[in-house]
């Protein structure tokens, strides 16, 4: 339960940053926090009480006492995608800063909404 609450809180905090903050880098930070929240949620969904990691590295491990590996695989992919999006966003920010000399969203004409 605590995991669900934490992840939802993380998602909400991140979204708040994206919606309210005026600074471009702050917005990207918000996005990465949202991502983190969703990753935590997915892993929590796959958790099994008193389970162990889904790696058969020593004898005597039963499949029934392992946590669900699928969400973990999904999160691996999602983390990498998040990194890619962050990198592109930050490069765009560098470009924008070159042109406008500011990171404030209100001073950049079209980004207002």
């Amino acid at each position: 339960m605590i995991y669900y609450a934490t992840s939802i809180l993380l998602i909400l905090i991140g979204m708040y940053a994206v919606l309210v903050k005026k600074n471009l880098i702050k917005i990207v930070i918000g996005l990465s926090i949202v991502d983190n929240g969703i990753h935590l949620l997915l892993i929590a969904i796959g958790y099994v009480k008193d389970g162990t990691a889904p790696i058969f590295s020593k004898p005597g491990l039963q499949a029934s006492q392992m946590v669900d590996p699928v969400p973990q695989a999904l999160v691996l992919t999602a983390i990498v995608i998040g990194l890619a999006v962050t990198a592109v966003a930050l490069s765009l920010i560098i470009r924008l800063y070159d042109h406008h000399k500011t990171l404030n969203i209100n001073k950049i004409r079209k980004l207002k909404w």
């Binding site: 995991y3 990207v28 926090i33 973990q72």
Partner: protein
């Protein structure tokens, strides 16, 4: 109440505080340090949730690479929020 549960609760609180700190801080470098701390704690949580693969990835990408590219961007732009 399991001792692990208590650890998790405390870590979650630290996590949330770090996230709020990252969002509210005017100094962008500190905000990035906040996100880095979020990743650090999150990685420990993944570990406790029996997902070492994910914990490892989060350590490699969240703690190191994301922080690094954020810091480089701040270096190339501006450190303080107006």
């Amino acid at each position: 109440m399991n001792w692990l549960t208590i650890v998790v609760v405390i870590l979650s609180i630290v996590l949330i505080i770090a996230a709020v700190f990252a969002v509210y801080q005017k100094d962008l470098l500190l905000a990035v340090i906040g996100t880095s701390a979020v990743s650090v704690v999150l990685s420990v949580l993944f570990y406790i949730l029996q997902a070492p693969d994910v914990a490892l990835t989060e350590a490699a990408i969240g703690v190191a690479l994301t922080t690094i590219i954020f810091v480089i961007t701040i270096k190339k732009t501006k450190r303080f929020e107006e």
